[in-house]
């Protein structure tokens, strides 16, 4: 268990229909780092995230997580370390009640009912949704759904959190709550997002991906101020850094 390092070495990935989504991606993320992943639509952000817990295995190259190579055999174990929060909470919240959803992971880990209940309560407490435990997911607002989907992953106590567009569909208040939450997490974080302002606030490091390749890897303060780089990747400066456009 070498400090939960994420190591991508020369990763290539081709979809069954032939699309080459990743063409030689390499990077190393160390324990406790908070990394943003940005790029144009279709650049490969989501594909990269999906490699993290082995749902899709690379066509070429080696992924190492926490010192263990990611293969078909090891991915079940690696999933205990890497928690992935998907773009659409409706895909992640598939149980009849919030409690059931958050308990799903711990129950699969084989814990007793008491331990599971403890995990669920502490996860819901963290996101401030303890009162929603008996509600069905379809009664929740978008913001609450997002929070609960994070709780479903937190309950497994992973070392690494990977998130795909966490702030999409959130109203400003929910988004602000989310940012506050993420800033508190001590986990290693990889956040794929178009919300550059969120990445500015939450991450220290930033990877820019273009056409399946990493084209920039540096500090957030360097990358997200580089207007040329951003515009080459169909992005803009974070709104908070732009000069006031209102005339």
């Amino acid at each position: 268990m070498t400090h939960h390092i994420i190591d991508f070495k020369d990763i290539f990935f081709r979809y069954p229909d032939g699309t080459e989504a990743l063409k030689g991606v390499s990077f190393r993320i160390t324990h406790g780092e908070s990394v943003g992943l940005v790029g144009a639509n279709g650049a490969g952000k989501s594909t990269l995230l999906l490699q993290m817990n082995g749902y899709m295995l690379p066509s070429l190259g080696v992924i190492n997580i926490g010192g263990v190579e990611l293969t078909k055999k090891t991915r079940q174990d690696i999933r205990k370390k890497v928690g992935v929060v998907f773009q659409n909470p409706d895909d992640q919240l598939f149980m009849p009640t919030v409690f059931d959803d958050v308990a799903f992971g711990p129950l699969n880990l084989g814990m007793s009912n008491e331990r599971v209940t403890d995990r669920v309560n502490s996860a819901l407490q963290t996101i401030g949704c303890l009162d929603l435990a008996t509600k069905p997911p379809h009664h929740l607002s978008a913001g609450k759904k997002r929070a609960v989907s994070i709780a479903t992953v937190l309950a497994m106590e992973p070392d690494i959190l990977a998130m795909d567009e966490p702030s999409s569909n959130l109203d400003p208040k929910s988004r602000r709550d989310l940012i506050g939450l993420l800033q508190e997490f001590k986990h290693t974080k990889i956040i794929a997002s178009h919300d550059l302002d969120l990445i500015l606030e939450v991450c220290e490091r930033c990877l820019v991906i273009k056409n399946g390749m990493i084209v920039a890897d540096g500090r957030v303060s360097d990358i997200l101020t580089n207007q040329l780089l951003l515009e080459e990747n169909h992005l803009e400066l974070p709104l908070s850094l732009q000069k006031n456009r209102l005339h």
Binding site: L50, N53, Y55, Q76, R79, K80, G83, V84, F86, N88, D90, D91, Q92, L93, F94, M95, P96, T97, F99, D100, A103, F104, G105, L107, N108, L109, N113, V116, T117, T134, K135, P136, P137, H138, H139, T152, V153, M156
Partner: protein
């Protein structure tokens, strides 16, 4: 009934089922068992029975009151749903013309009597089904069925179905609305458009199933779905079942209405 309205009604009933009243707090098994007992008892009356069915109206009334269920909402559903029973029942007067009663001086044929009996039975059974879902959350009913012996596979996929009904209906609604906005008043859809809609919806459904499966795997799914089951049978459940059982039996075996009627007659004469 159009899609929008159906979806709305579904949502209202679903929301109602999560309320917190005396009836809602009963164990789901209690409510499932008593509802079935009620239906079977009501339906066991022979075809010409009317008066014997009237005391059974007590049950829906009590549940409405104790459970804070909006009466008109449920009644509307019962009255508006045009159903097989009414369509078939209304043919009874055509085929059964022998005179069964004299309503003071008016002769009433057996066919009309049995038709009204059908209507009463229909009303009572429909109310009880709707009241069951209004007072018991659907997952609760599923867990009750599991405890009563229904196979695990059936229950698990039923819970998934419930979870995704609202998601899928919303998706369908969006597609239907989008199509309606481009149809300029033509009601319903042609069959080929319908096929396209259903086909597209199906493709989206399968893609969604893939994503859900991925999410399950990501949280350690290995084939069995586990639940932490809490609540149990309490004293109030025992009381409720006994009271209902006894009352159902009394109403079925004894002619309460006739009794009251004869008492009243004696008082007035």
């Amino acid at each position: 009934m159009n899609f929008d309205k159906e979806y709305f009604n579904l949502g209202v009933l679903d929301t109602l089922s999560y309320k917190n009243t005396l009836v809602h707090r009963l164990d789901p098994r209690t409510k499932v068992i008593t509802t079935f007992a009620f239906i079977v008892t009501v339906v066991s009356f022979p075809k010409y029975e009317i008066a014997g069915l009237i005391p059974f109206l007590l049950f829906p009334v009590v549940i409405f009151a104790l459970g804070d269920i909006p009466v008109w909402f449920i009644l509307k559903k019962v009255l508006v749903v045009s159903v097989f029973a009414v369509f078939i029942g209304i043919l009874n007067p055509l085929f059964d013309t022998h005179i069964k009663y004299h309503f003071f001086t008016l002769p009433v044929s057996g066919g009309w009597v049995s038709f009204f009996s059908i209507l009463l039975k229909y009303f009572l059974t429909m109310c009880s089904a709707l009241l069951l879902i209004s007072t018991t959350s659907f997952p609760g009913i599923c867990h009750a069925l599991r405890k009563l012996g229904v196979p695990e596979i059936f229950i698990s996929q039923l819970l998934f179905l419930y979870r995704y009904i609202f998601v899928l209906m919303e998706e369908t609604l969006r597609m239907v609305r989008a199509k309606d906005l481009r149809s300029f008043g033509k009601k319903g859809q042609g069959i080929s458009i319908f096929i396209n809609l259903v086909g597209t919806l199906f493709v989206k459904t399968i893609e969604r199933a893939e994503r859900i499966y991925h999410a399950m795997l990501s949280r350690g799914f290995t084939g069995t779905i586990h639940f932490v089951l809490r609540e149990g049978f309490g004293k109030k459940d025992f009381v409720f079942i006994s009271a209902t059982g006894i009352t159902l039996y009394m109403f079925r075996a004894y002619d309460i209405v006739g009794l009251i009627g004869r008492l009243a007659e004696r008082m007035f004469n």
